[in-house]
Symmetry: C2
Subunit: 619 residues, 2 copies
């Protein structure tokens, strides 16, 4: 990796910071967050502004440029990578270390008095703006919204914003028409006395209209905004995308069934002026819902007295609770995905002894096998295919310069998933093709115990996911071990592989209680730096449980694994498992054989006899 040369770029950027074309007075600092105007986790190339200015291309990081300094904040996952990708013009700010100042503190320490700090209000979330603005103001500075993005101003060959073809999803995939979704949304608005709802998250808009795009890699979304009133629907999207007759028919653009279900379409860029127009006409009691993580730009259009910020939107919650059609689709997607992975593991068993399989070729093979499955669209995130010490890098992605050969001597970890039209998958398996060491087996077994403890947990309705996180860690903790990431995230249905508002983590973010129909991952791990990584991940569905009693008629929940890929028994120290845990493993493998076996047969594949597919029965 060679660092990006940024001297000239920084000179140009500092020029724009002094250029009164962009603002009435020059600014002394400019903040470049990662992220787009929709606060997406994955972003399109045209939005990779922080990468453009400093060279660092990790998923998280914020750059700040002043007249004298340039600094970039990122977290522990990326210290090495960032130091390699950035040249000497940049100071790496290692977040989480005691000596590292916060962005606010650093700005206050380096800025001259009464400085103006600029930021693109579309890229910064409203809650982040609030915190930053408060800190700067209290130190005598001010945070300034710079409407034109200054990176774009110096980015000569900036890619265009993607405008891929839109795909309509019928009831057989969604289970619910967009009209019904709008009606449900309006019922919630009426209940809370809300007159307008502004949707800015791309997956929420895709879900609402039963549309999918491919504007962002791995995420089947498209750039759009939506504003829903009690009688009107406004969709903001590149209008060229709306010419396909089937799509126009799907949205009933030319012949709406009812006036209140008539979608008015507007250019993507006009959301600001349209929202302004709406806000000008608000009655004294009118209230507008917007997520507190939406962009500062759109949020501030809404006068404070009319603004009702919410930590997650009603669409976010509705989307998280899958209906029976979506659940059926997710089940099918996971069965097809299991077929592809079982094929991969059989292939690995055969090929590894030849010494020709690398992390990259294994990931490619996984993609090839998945792509042969029905309704495959693409991967749901970059495959983590890692051998030995690379497995201990939690967010590893094999690159030519790090690519390692799979052998009989090292642990192999593959965390991968795909988008199918009927559902999204995300699965991690860790295995050894030779003889694992006693320590590797011991750690694997603790991770397995944690995985089972969550997966088999019974808990009352209304329980938040963070209350289950310790179950995943108890066995590791007992031996003095742990892992430094959460245990699970929400998973979309042919949508983003990471979605809110539920999850399983020791961090008690504003997570909503788990309810039947939600789908989350269960993925504890253990990482021995420089040696190996272990993670065991299933996607699981929240389902009602029927325990012996029913305290206060609250009802109980548990999890049903959607992922049906065998877990390598060779990696287990079975003497560390309780009888209950062995029964769980046996029953899981019985289900894999039954369900995935049937699909393998249907597809005319004969993997049923391979070592990986038929795992030993534990007694």
């Amino acid at each position: 990796m060679t660092p990006k040369i940024t001297g000239e770029l920084l000179r140009l950027l500092r020029q724009t910071m002094r250029n009164c074309k962009y603002f009435s007075e020059p600014i002394q600092a400019y903040i470049i967050p990662s992220g787009d105007a929709h606060q997406s986790e994955y972003i399109a190339p045209c939005d990779c502004r922080r990468e453009f200015i400093c060279g660092f291309n990790g998923s998280a990081g914020t750059a700040i440029v002043t007249e004298q300094h340039a600094a970039m904040w990122t977290d522990g996952r990326y210290f090495l990578q960032a130091s390699q990708q950035m040249d000497n013009n940049w100071t790496l700010m290692k977040m989480g270390l005691k000596e590292t100042p916060s962005q606010e503190d650093w700005l206050i320490s380096v800025l001259p008095e009464n400085s103006k700090v600029g930021v693109d209000p579309w890229i910064i979330a409203a809650d982040q703006w609030k915190n930053m603005s408060k800190a700067l103001t209290s130190a005598g500075h001010s945070l300034v919204a710079v409407q034109e993005n200054l990176i774009d101003a110096v980015w000569a060959d900036r890619p265009e914003r993607p405008s891929t073809q839109l795909r309509t999803l019928g009831l057989e995939y969604t289970g619910l028409s967009w009209q019904d979704k709008i009606t449900t949304l309006r019922a919630k608005m009426t209940e809370r006395k809300i007159t307008w709802f502004v949707a800015t998250a791309l997956d929420e808009i895709a879900w609402l209209f039963n549309l999918r795009g491919s504007d962002i890699e791995y995420n089947p979304v498209f750039f759009a905004y939506a504003i829903v009133g009690l009688n009107t629907i406004r969709l903001f999207v590149d209008l060229k995308r709306l010419t396909d007759p089937a799509l126009r028919d799907h949205l009933q653009l030319d012949s709406p069934s009812k006036p209140e279900l008539s979608i008015q379409t507007f250019p993507y860029e006009s959301v600001y002026t349209e929202l302004q127009a709406i806000c000008t006409a608000l009655g004294p009691k009118d209230k507008v819902w917007i997520c507190d993580k939406a962009s500062c730009a759109l949020t501030q259009v809404i006068p404070k007295a009319h603004r009702t910020p919410i930590p997650y939107t009603p669409l976010c919650l509705a989307k998280a609770v899958k209906n029976s059609t979506e659940i059926q689709g997710m089940r099918m997607a996971h069965i097809k995905d299991a077929v592809a992975l079982c094929e991969l593991f059989a292939w690995l068993e055969k090929e590894i002894p030849k010494g020709t399989v690398t992390e990259i070729s294994a990931a490619d093979k996984a993609e090839e096998l998945r792509s042969q499955q029905k309704d495959f669209v693409g991967l749901s995130f970059p495959t983590i295919s890692s051998v030995g010490p690379n497995g201990a890098i939690i967010h590893y992605r094999p690159l030519p310069e790090t690519n390692r050969t799979l052998t009989m001597n090292e642990v192999y970890l593959i965390d991968s998933g795909a988008q199918y039209i009927d559902g999204t998958t995300d699965v991690t398996r860790t295995m050894h093709f030779g003889t694992p060491s006693a320590f590797e087996k011991e750690c694997f077994t603790y991770v397995l115990k944690g995985h089972i403890s969550v997966s088999a947990a019974v808990f009352p309705n209304g329980t938040k996911g963070h209350l289950l996180d310790s179950f995943a860690r108890a066995a590791l903790w007992e031996s003095g071990l742990d892992y430094l990431h959460g245990t699970g995230h929400g998973v979309g249905c042919f949508l983003n592989v990471h979605e809110g508002p539920c999850g399983i983590s020791y961090k008690t973010f504003a997570d909503e209680p788990l309810e039947a129909g939600m789908i989350v991952s269960d993925e504890p791990g253990y990482y021995e730096d420089g040696s190996f990584g272990i993670r065991l991940e299933n996607v699981v569905l929240v389902v009602p449980a029927k325990p012996k009693y029913n305290y206060r008629n609250r009802g109980s929940l548990t999890f049903d694994p959607l992922t049906l890929v065998p877990i390598q028994v060779k990696m287990m120290s079975t003497e560390l498992l309780t009888q209950k845990e062995r029964d769980w493993v046996n029953e899981y493998h019985r289900k894999c054989r039954e369900v995935v076996g049937a699909e393998l047969e249907r597809q005319g594949l004969t993997l049923v006899q391979t070592n990986h597919f038929v795992q030993e029965h534990l007694v």
Copy 2:
């Protein structure tokens, strides 16, 4: 229970609300919170203003009186009691029910436009004031601080504020002189660039100066404030209490060793004017620490630019981490307490068959036996002594009209504790003196499993208590059962039986990470309404654990039970226990026999042979 007649009282109170002697303009509503000027959990009779005005004497509740209405908010524990203690002038507001409005919403719905709502700023905490004021202001009303308490103005025979004799504690009890505590506090202040610290919590002040009082029943505290600067110490207390030569010597009032350790004493009431004087002289960079739960009155004296509110103070955290002398004292207190309880259980076994033991007489006997132990001071909270259905009332306290006789047919639950000069105890045991039913045993066993799961847990340094809460519930949850209270609270050392900032609860309040030396309770339960209650509580000490590995050198923690009172094996369904759990029970009982047995012998008591003390060994 007959309700208190409040018509005339309310007439008088409303008269004061219109009386311009107290404010420039009349107020339309007056809020009467429970609590005192130190936001104490337990309060002195002179502070029971909410009880005085409405008759309801539960521990939690807020009364609001307007010109037309009088309403009182309390939670589910007290619905029945409050409805019996209040007359028809009062509306009971059942908190937690959907149809019950919040205090803010109710005020807004009943008040005429532009109303003034009064409250005693000493009784309302700064954070509560902020929320209430915001809600009222946004509806066009205002919250007004009424300096003179209007209840006191109509309370003819209001008791005096207690001013009991102060007790000094030497190093043999505290392990640390008050001078050293001041020095440590100042080091923390200097580290955070704080120039003044205002202490308002009574237990923090008692701890800081190694003094105890008995102003409030069950809590060995005294009414005082303290303001600590980097070179000065101001103590605000009834000066008549400072005449005892030993006490003057302890505080070095007449011959301080160093000027910066010289305590200036002031009358209790002068804290307000002294803090005002301090704040007038603040330099531009001076910062004042005050807890965000301190009274609004004192908080608002500090100009906002100089105020640094904190969720808990450095004294709160320092007090929570017991030093080795305090730990030794707590151990001794728990051994003596165990002797008294074992004597009680032997006595109960003998007396219950005669049919003469009631909930009240058992509680009295427990107090009598405890009072015979060395350095006994008093109870640490009102004894919960409950039989059969009364056991299902979580905060039950036996009264003559509810008093039930202990029999061979019902489950008996006793939750009790004492203050000794060397430590504070809090223990719950549940037992049956005949033959428990299968369901009672089943529930008891789930509770026991939860208790052991927490007590035996190993977890990394830095873990917050709320991450352990689910361990206590997992066995109950698996059978569809649960309990609707937290699992544990911090326990003071010859101080309040409930203290922050750590605890074990599903509620993720701002709890601090557990660290070695902290002492908390572990008390899961199960309550079958109308039938029985089960709770099993030990006080446990956080201690370093030494598991097999030490991930990232973080170190691990576990718990060491300080409570050493046998657990009735007769109540256990031993077939539901794992071997590990049986081993835990056996080892716990071995330790009880060894440690408490030795003390019983030392005291010349011969309980060693009784049924309760020698519990069956589980195989």
